[in-house]
């Protein structure tokens, strides 16, 4: 091909340009149908009944009163729920689930909020009223483990060591022992809730042998594959649909038991059933970021060169599945250091199963590592930016491979300059404004760049419009829009004439919307499908009766939704019309390739944070965040920047507010609501200045994009805690940094 499609993404016109979201108007007018607000004929409403204990057995359910209530159709529980199969739960086979235990599988209770029954009724009000009248009797057991962070479990040796999750190089222990300067500290992070605004929701409808499931999902294919195993039915008989998702942040990647309960109950009822988890249940049983305990040992020479890095992590899992939140996964690639070890343990606790939450593992690990680096800078009396540059990894020290593209030095320099880092007086508490002490802090951040296999389909239509489809999802990151941009770039068709369909398993298999991988995964497949469709159309155009009959297909160029041979320009629509064709189709697929063995792919960035601490009233607020990110190319800069800004806001929550409170006596979750689990509100949003560097990473894919969903969150919490150290002289190694932690050693003033 010799036209614009060949090198389209090196000097693109639409890709990389500000593009208002193509799904924006649907979301802004209330017409976007999220799962919970869908309706189908004859639909019933389901309301789950959660266990009120965290450890024990269900002795009896008293259902008579609830069953007699108006509108109640049936109540499902261990005694009458159909026997199903557990999913093999494999990432490799695409049938991973969030919690492998099936709903109502037995009478054991492993966590507060575990479903013990599901009420189905004609109306939502009736289902809820009846659910509240289900009476459960339990045999409660003592010894529930409420948290990894309870004193009993807060040690290096707690939990099961996962050999496969560890790695090492050099001789880190000996190097640490022999280091001139050492840091050896323990860091704790409380369990967090995703608190995505749209609760988990399922609408299941059996159509004969077929099952159609609407789910708020970040991975419709994973859910389809798992459901096929669980219900022992062919994948072709299942369709999972997720057009609009009120975000997920990881807890909608893999299916949860509520979806199995809903589909199973719908089959028994012979009617469609809709279940929207109440917020309380969503927080108890719909995923969480597990608490972590990390010990970091850093050794350095007097000049600040790292001589040893040892990062030992323990994270929680549940008693009904094994989830590993790999805190140390970024550490081996972060800094140039010959001696390094990472280890990972997991400890089962009586919680609903943890799951990935935005930048899983790494965000926790980077908090510990980047706080420890600040401690090392203090010990060395060195500027923390200089310390990071001194240990800059010019290639990936974990693999020895060169980076595909790494601009962290430019991120540090640019953000420091815009922030005014040079004006920082490193003296503790030296910068004041009225009642407030100003603290400056910084941290680097990173997230790996990955790709998954992907397929896409494109249709050029006789009416001049273009249809592109892929079974991935748009969870709010703007996937609909960047797919449309890609199609527009390669065809010159206007965005308003491009229809994008995502979020259905009837479409070509698309990736999970997670891990910041959707962009780099989906767009190459879409581009391949567009090229395939254009080739097909060129064949039509140059074939018998075609608009360019007899011409060399390769000689046709593409612009503005038309072919040109240099003399004549004929629109795609006219080409199709000339041959009386309704459309031509193109298929495309893409997957990670040889580049994977040649380079290491990671995004990096830097956050600089100003906190304001008023010691007289123990009040801390994040006033200002200046960040620079190297994410390769941003396909749509405003939506990419929005991702980073949102990550910063979430990072303020992680740093200062967020903590799931499990009662130490019985592991019951006591703050499963949006008032008592504190997340940032408008008034907490600081002044934010995000810069996206523009270094397209063409070694990764032809778009040069590495993805942007996670990285903004990483590094914020340590930048805040480092700023607090600057303000107060006190080191905060536990998240969230609460008022009581700030108050320790303070007095009223």
């Amino acid at each position: 091909m010799n036209d614009m499609t060949q090198s389209a993404f090196h000097k693109p016109k639409v890709v990389g340009q500000r593009t208002p979201r193509v799904d924006g108007e649907f979301k802004l007018t209330g017409r976007a149908g999220y799962t919970g607000e869908l309706h189908v004929e004859g639909m019933l409403y389901g309301y789950p009944v959660p266990a009120t204990i965290a450890n024990g057995e269900l002795e009896a359910l008293e259902l008579d009163e609830a069953l007699a209530m108006p509108g109640v159709v049936d109540i499902f529980h261990h005694g009458n729920f159909p026997k199903l199969h557990r999913s093999p739960n494999s990432m490799g086979h695409g049938d991973q689930v969030s919690e492998v235990r099936l709903p109502f599988e037995d009478e054991r209770i492993y966590y507060h909020g575990q479903y013990i029954a599901l009420v189905a009724a004609e109306s939502f009000e009736q289902a809820r009223a009846a659910a509240q009248r289900v009476v459960a009797r339990y045999r409660q057991k003592t010894g529930a483990v409420s948290s990894l962070l309870d004193g009993d479990h807060d040690s290096d040796e707690e939990g099961q060591l996962l050999e496969s999750a560890g790695s090492s190089r050099g001789d880190p222990e000996a190097a640490f022992d022999g280091s001139a300067v050492k840091i050896d500290e323990v860091y704790h992070i409380a369990a967090e809730s995703h608190l995505q605004m749209e609760m988990h929701a399922t609408l299941a409808e059996w159509q004969g042998e077929k099952l159609v499931v609407h789910e708020s999902s970040q991975g419709v294919f994973y859910q389809r594959n798992a459901m096929a195993r669980i219900f022992d039915m062919p994948q072709e008989h299942l369709e999972v649909i997720s057009h609009y998702i009120g975000s997920g942040f990881g807890n909608k990647l893999f299916m949860w038991p509520h979806a199995v309960a809903t589909a199973g109950a719908a089959r028994e009822l012979g009617r469609p059933l809709k279940v929207v988890l109440p917020r309380q249940q969503d927080m108890m049983s719909g995923g969480n970021r597990p608490a972590s305990r990390q010990r970091i040992r850093l050794g350095a020479d007097r000049e600040g060169r790292l001589t040893s890095v040892i990062h030992d992590s323990t994270t929680e899992t549940s008693l009904v599945d094994q989830y590993v939140d790999a805190c140390g996964s970024a550490t081996p690639s972060f800094y140039a250091c010959d001696n390094l070890a990472v280890s990972q343990r997991i400890l089962p606790v009586n919680h609903g199963t943890p799951c990935p939450m935005r930048a899983p593992g790494e965000v926790s690990g980077i908090f510990a590592l980047e706080t420890a680096m600040d401690e090392l800078a203090v010990a060395l009396e060195m500027d923390p930016v200089e310390l990071r540059l001194k240990n800059y990894a010019e290639s990936d020290p974990s693999s020895g491979l060169p980076w595909s593209s790494k601009q962290l030095d430019k991120c540090l320099q640019s953000a420091a300059e815009r922030f005014g880092w040079a004006q920082r007086n490193p003296q503790i508490g030296s910068m004041r404004d009225g009642d407030e002490i100003i603290g400056y802090g910084m941290a680097s951040c990173t997230w790996f760049a990955g790709r998954q296999p992907c397929e896409a389909r494109v249709e050029l239509r006789a009416d001049g419009t273009l249809f592109a489809a892929c079974g991935t999802q748009d969870i709010g990151t703007g996937t609909y829009t960047i797919v449309a941009q890609t199609v527009a770039e390669l065809t010159g068709v206007k965005l308003s004439d491009i229809e994008v369909k995502l979020g259905e398993t009837s479409l070509p298999a698309g990736p999970l919307s997670g891990g910041s991988m959707a962009t780099a995964t989906t767009l190459p497949a879409v581009a391949a499908a567009v090229r395939d469709a254009l080739s097909a159309l060129k064949e039509v155009a140059t074939g018998s009766g075609g608009a360019f009959e007899g011409a060399d297909a390769d000689s046709l160029t593409v612009a503005d939704g038309a072919f040109s041979d240099g003399n004549r320009t004929v629109s795609f629509a006219d080409v199709l019309a000339a041959n009386r064709l309704a459309s031509v189709n193109g298929k495309g697929s893409s997957a990670p390739g040889d580049e994977q063995g040649e380079y290491s792919f990671r995004s990096f960035g830097a956050h600089f944070v100003e906190v304001r601490f008023d010691p007289g009233i123990s009040r801390v607020r994040v006033a200002r965040v200046v960040s620079t990110m190297d994410i390769g190319r941003a396909i749509n800069p405003p939506t990419a920047r929005n991702q980073v800004e949102g990550g910063i806001v979430m990072g303020i929550g992680m740093g200062l507010f967020e903590k799931l409170d499990y009662d130490p006596r019985d592991a019951r979750l006591i703050n499963s609501n949006v008032a008592d689990y504190i997340v940032p509100v408008h008034a907490d949003a600081p002044e934010i200045d995000v810069e996206l560097l523009d270094y397209p990473d063409f070694k990764f894919n032809e778009f040069g994009a590495r993805g942007v969903g996670e990285i903004g969150l990483t590094g914020i919490a340590p930048a805040i805690s480092n700023a607090l150290y600057h303000a107060t002289g006190k080191r905060y190694r536990d998240l969230p940094v609460t008022i009581e932690a700030l108050l320790a050693d303070q007095r009223s003033a």
Binding site: I670, D676, V681, A683, E740
Partner: protein, 334 residues
């Protein structure tokens, strides 16, 4: 949310007569429906009182301000009389909840707000306030949010209102109308300490309706300040709050009013601290002494010890700001 009957009251007299013990009045509904959904409150009938003529704010001849029970928190916060003469009340109202909730919530409803204790809000937990005699899961549970003042063995739940803290500082009278006629109760006596009957939260009898709250005449010339300390910057209940009013007599404090929120089982007027301020110089040392007195009887639990310090900080800063306002008022009138 269990089924219930619903009716609309067409007059105050009628409302005051028609309620059975298991019925509830609904005005803003922001507490009631929240708790009915949680199955914490289980009314068999709701009486909608929103059309009753209780929405007037009027200055009485004696200088007091009479506020109708159904005046919304938003309207009260922005009312000219309140902004001019009771700015501490306006500040407290605007520090509470969210714009939407303030648009719904009423003055009397705010007085009747229930505690945010998570064990109270969970029917599966032991709570003497919700289920008398069942015990108190908060006392040895997670009690970061709980009271350090006014608690008992049976209950340590915090009264969550901001508005009531300002009213406690200002001084007010509630007008109650019931089957036996109308009566008045001093604001400070309306809310009960939990003692061994935490389920009796206030001095409101079956069938009685709060029809008005009348604020005492404003302290003049004075400065005031409402300071609310919490984890995030907005839309959160107080960890500690303070309503402070001061009048100045030159450099010395004339009168002082101090009330605390977020730390006590009822809106907490600090009379001894106030007395200790009178005649003292309006300076930090005086405020710190008052703060120590106000918290002298604090009884912290496992997780809320920080509230003792935080409440003192709230008092000192609120008094400082009130004194600054009073100083400006004094200068302006000099």
């Amino acid at each position: 949310m269990r089924p219930f009957a619903f009716s609309r009251a067409d007059s105050v007299d009628h409302a005051a007569h028609q309620t059975a013990p298991t019925a509830a009045f609904v005005a803003g509904g922001t507490t009631l429906l929240d708790l009915v959904k949680l199955d914490v409150m289980r009314p068999t009938a709701l009486v909608d009182i929103n059309t009753l003529p209780l929405k007037r704010v009027e200055r009485l001849d004696d200088g007091r301000l009479k506020i109708g029970a159904l005046v919304t928190n938003t309207d009260l916060a922005h009312h000219e009389e309140v902004k001019a003469h009771y700015p501490v009340l306006s500040q407290a109202l605007l520090a509470g909840a969210s714009t939407q909730l303030r648009n719904m919530a009423t003055t009397a409803g705010n007085v009747m707000q229930r505690t945010r204790c998570p064990y109270y809000r969970d029917p599966a937990a032991a709570c003497n306030r919700r289920a008398p005699g069942s015990g108190c899961d908060a006392r040895d549970g997670i009690n970061r949010m709980h009271a350090v003042l006014g608690g008992s063995t049976d209950c340590v739940a915090v009264h969550p209102s901001d508005m009531c803290v300002a009213m406690a500082a200002i001084g007010a009278t509630l007008t109650l109308k019931g089957p036996d006629g109308e009566r008045e109760v001093a604001f400070g006596e309306f809310h009960r300490l939990p003692g061994d009957t935490p389920h009796i939260e206030h001095d409101l009898r079956d069938g009685e309706l709060i029809t008005a709250i009348t604020l005492d005449a404003p302290l003049v010339p004075a400065g005031s300040h409402y300071l609310k300390l919490r984890d995030r910057a907005s839309y959160e209940f107080a960890l500690a709050s303070c309503a402070a009013q001061l009048s100045l007599d030159g450099e010395l404090i004339g009168e002082a009013r101090v009330a605390l929120g977020g730390v006590a089982t009822k809106p907490w007027r600090c009379a001894e601290a106030e007395a200790a301020l009178v005649g003292q110089p309006a300076e930090i040392a005086s405020f710190e002494r008052a703060a120590e007195i106000a918290l002298a009887d604090a009884r912290p639990l496992a997780h809320n010890g920080f509230k003792v310090t935080l409440a003192k900080q709230a008092i000192v800063r609120a008094l400082r700001e009130a004194a600054r306002c009073a100083g400006e008022t004094q200068e302006a009138s000099a």
